[in-house]
Symmetry: D2
């Protein structure tokens, strides 16, 4: 249970880090969308380990194969199955983990739930699980770009205490991607890199905050009660490994404002209703208002560290663990394409749901 | 769309603040649970306006009627329909809002989505919509208490900049409920009351943070990918009107720690695996670990304020609005039972889903 | 569980025959549809008991109240809650049924499932449960008529061995409704009436077959695998109390033809692709083909009869039962509006799902 | 949309007959079930073409690979992905079908819905699509056998007018499987074979009826309104290619009985409540009653025949078609394992749903 995301644009993912592979099935994608493996490979390349020295040294090309749902370069409207074979697995790295629980990892809880776990690599609780999300998200992104002109863009805003001051409206993809940590401020980016280098040398890890925006979402997506756009975005983000918090627009800091300071005044600009400020983050009462969608996701420091930690074994013995293997000392740079993928999946689903109920792709105005 | 919450324990709500009433249908509740209207009325009483001078003066007894699903004092396993009639509606209060959009409210977005809105009271974008949540949540809470010994408890941790320092493990319901703002620290509570009084006099509003815990959740609820327990809790909380942020355990502040500082060491205590600290907030890799579940929800300052604000009319004219009517200058005290309700609904659903897949109510150990 | 029907146009029903009432919540209805209680009352009037001497003498006006979702005569896009109060309940009629299971009724199975049942009236296993279906179906029908020009029409084709020979293409509502048994052939109708009169006098009951058509469905609704249009229609029909069989187009008799006799040749007529014959029943490979949809539903003879029957008590004693109360000796005439309602609900849902995925209400051609 | 079946035990299938392969993802399977590729291969072998001269000569070994969800021979509780590569595709066979619609096939309706189709092999409208169903059904069957002792068994009861007289209670798998047409009556089986041989020689096709039973289902599975067990079984069966009808228990013929003849008297036998007869087919009011579940599925004659047929081209020209390729003149023998698979999937889902709501695998008694 729980491996499907979305109602009309539905992603189902599968696979463990050690096994036949990881992948996904996308059901409900509109027909006639131009789609090739290259469209998907681009985002997988941004997610894969080994992009630079800040990341896990694990080397996986993560070559995706489209197994179904595409014919003569266009989607058929039938399920799109995508498969990425596992390659650079080193299962022997995991032998010491067979009978011991890594702190703040999913070893113990998986075993408590199921009575069993794939101790070679963490099973479904592995960064590798996100391959299916990013592959599916690439299809959602292509749909949103092509049919709605929506552009989704994430970056690293903070690592540990090193924070960039960013204007969501002026983010640009090439500037972000030019930074090894995906932070568009060059000076802050350099400081972040230094911090990650230091913590890696120390066998420790860091967390931080990803900022993500979606431009071009028309007014009208989402709904006013349980399936608020921010609720479904939040669910998508909080389902990413290591995510501990989500905020839309003004978020937690916005609680320090008075209503008269926080409200976004309406103006009539460029032939449509606009807000002067965007503390709402592009969503009001669960429905997009035509402004840029802005949200943030908090990621805890990577649980897997080299430093010795106290823990217990499966049979209840207290022990100390020093985890070997190839792990990211900071997941933030690789989390950016995952955040974007979950945003694309959420928005694509709400696009189709809105179109189903109203017959329109966007606003009634 | 979007008026149903949950997969096995499913709540569907309906109703506008001005119309025949508000209510809900609960489908999937286990049979043979003792249930009476009094069980539900208690939580509705904590949610209703007019409890004290800090809240909207709207007077509604919010009497709930069980229309179906209960027979001779016990649930049948069939749908439980609950109805609360509207009583103290003053629709004339809303006449000035027919053609103008209140800033940071749902007037504009509802109309952009549907091409129509119930301008008498905000339609589904009304605090009154939450009656169905709280009624349904009361049934979920009763189920969790009776079958699993789970206790859910919320309180106000911060209003504007006035913050209580609270230990989640030592919260007590009677202390919380003794405070008109539902803050268990008497001194902080008094300061909060003063702040709300001041802002109300000024025609303005305040936001803040609700802290909520769930004690007694066994290890094993939730699942490791999209339906992580924190993801579904987050979705539930972010679907509450005025919520702008959610965090589990260490949340956003936890990103300032290193992995070695953040990880929760495992120990073997009281015959079972425990963690020494609880920065995970009771959930690891999407699955409960048997510790107290701890999360926080950020609420923005109430959008409806008396101060004049700039906005536009339906036909695109720029204007100024001064909203009359009976509104809460701070939603936090009344948000507490709503947060608890959404927590109960989320946990009840995951309880049944876990039991369906594994045949056990709790942990495999 | 199991009280919701549909994915985008979703009906949730509630209520027992003895309790506060029966009703439904419709979620996902498009906005701006003109809708009044009169639209719904018409179909409820065709479903209610006591329409003529062939039916249960139970007298219930079945007055529907729209509690939410409609504003100034049009739908809002929010949930439409409909309530019908119970009136002519005679719970004492059911006292003898407290501890005994009526043969081929749901008394035993409900108790086996839930460990409890509402023995006053059968609980959810009551013809009265269908009020919510018919009320919801009336909204679906209005939507289909208004937005798509779809017309749904059912009639009684056979009662026991008395069969009408009907051409699905030439059915007319007024002719059908002029017959107390809803059979458009006057002579066959008279014979059916005589048969029902005879069996009622004998304390026994009859079954039969309902024929239903939907005209004006465009090519393209449905999907080719699990959610075939005939599969979802079949599920809807087989969920009606007393239904034991479903067939689309040529159905069971069509298995007596060879492929060369059965296939529907394509022709180009009136500017579009048509079939010369319609053994497919308007659906090919799960998707409507633009021809009239034609299907049949088999209803068993009413389980509740006055004749003495052998059965057992809750504590395992063998006994004999003679059921009193006011029951239909043949459900077929009243089943017609229920069949139409389930057809309307199924088609409305597939209309919205098709529009969501493709952006079109109908065919790509 | 529409490629997922089930709510707790969920099957998602993918793949076209010409492409990378066909397969499925099973989500929600309980953990710790022993499962190997051999368990799945057995049923795939019963479904594959080329088993004998009565079937399509297409030769595909249909080797299944378990990509995920199984570890050290047991299920993990995570998604089980199964893949069967396409092997013996002869796409050139389909070139003549690029611009013409085969009568009573899905060529036209797929194109009407999506505006595109994979004309090489029919896309999702291909017997090959059922590989994913049978693979998933094999896992469901293993679960039901292991945890509940449920045994599901199908056979061919009728081909064209050649009918076997079978007692559902005495069916035996080895006798059925000993017949090339899967009919347990040797004389009838021989007549069926002769009929298929004759029609194949003639370039024509035949339909018929599959009978299926499930033994050992406890009382209590299913629910009393929309998700009746017979409704979900019916949906599953009507979703199989070429299915045109479904009936449970007495079905259509049962409408020729009076209530006093049709009702199943209750008796107390072997320490539990039993029925003397089983016209209900093991389900009453949507819930299993502990008797053998008995249902039938009508399959039309194969649409693809060699005889010339009149049809139209994509640009509206009337033409004649003679379909080449390797097709079954009668799908019934190969439909048996598909019917069993859909029954297993439906029952496994209701098993888990019942356990989720009630905490019991079976009856309350």
């Amino acid at each position: 249970m729980g491996n499907t995301f979305g109602q009309l644009f539905r992603l189902t993912t599968f696979g463990e880090s050690h096994g036949g592979g990881v992948g996904c099935v996308i059901d409900g994608c509109p027909p006639l969308l131009e789609l090739s493996e290259a469209d998907i490979q681009a985002d997988l390349g941004r997610r894969r380990p080994g992009q630079n020295r800040l990341m896990s040294a694990r080397q996986e090309a993560d070559r995706v194969a489209i197994l179904s749902g595409v014919f003569e370069g266009r989607t058929l409207g039938s399920p799109i199955a995508l498969l990425v074979r596992n390659e650079d697995a080193r299962p022997q790295d995991y032998d010491p983990l067979r009978d011991v629980y890594r702190p703040s990892h999913g070893d113990f809880t998986q075993e408590a739930k199921y009575g069993v776990r794939n101790w070679r690599g963490g099973g479904r609780v592995s960064a590798r699980e996100t391959v299916g999300r990013v592959a599916g998200g690439a299809v959602a992104r292509k749909l949103l770009e092509t049919e709605c002109g929506v552009d989704i863009l994430g970056c690293v805003e903070r690592i540990h205490a090193i924070q960039a001051t960013l204007d969501p409206e002026s983010l640009a993809r090439d500037v972000i991607e030019a930074s090894p940590v995906r932070c568009p401020d060059p000076q802050v980016s350099a400081a972040m890199i230094a911090a990650i280098d230091a913590v890696r040398a120390d066998g420790d890890s860091l967390g931080g905050v990803v900022l993500c925006i979606a431009r071009g979402v028309p007014a009208g997506w989402g709904s006013p009660v349980f399936d608020k756009l921010e609720a479904d975005l939040g669910r998508g983000m909080l389902s990413i490994p290591a995510a501990k918090g989500f905020e839309i627009g003004s978020g937690f800091p916005g609680t320090m404002l008075r209503g008269s300071e926080h409200n976004d005044a309406f103006r009539f600009r460029e032939g449509r209703v606009r807000t002067e400020t965007n503390r709402s983050g592009g969503v009001q009462a669960g429905i997009s208002n035509g402004e840029t969608i802005v949200f943030r996701v908090a990621f805890k420091p990577t649980a897997t560290i080299r430093k010795p930690q106290r823990t217990v074994t499966r049979d209840g013995q207290e022990t100390t663990i020093e985890v070997r293997g190839r792990h990211d000392p900071c997941v933030l740079p690789r989390a950016v394409p995952i955040v974007e993928a979950m945003a694309a999946l959420t928005l694509a689903d709400h696009f189709l749901r809105h179109r189903g109920q109203t017959g329109r792709a966007g606003s009634a105005f």
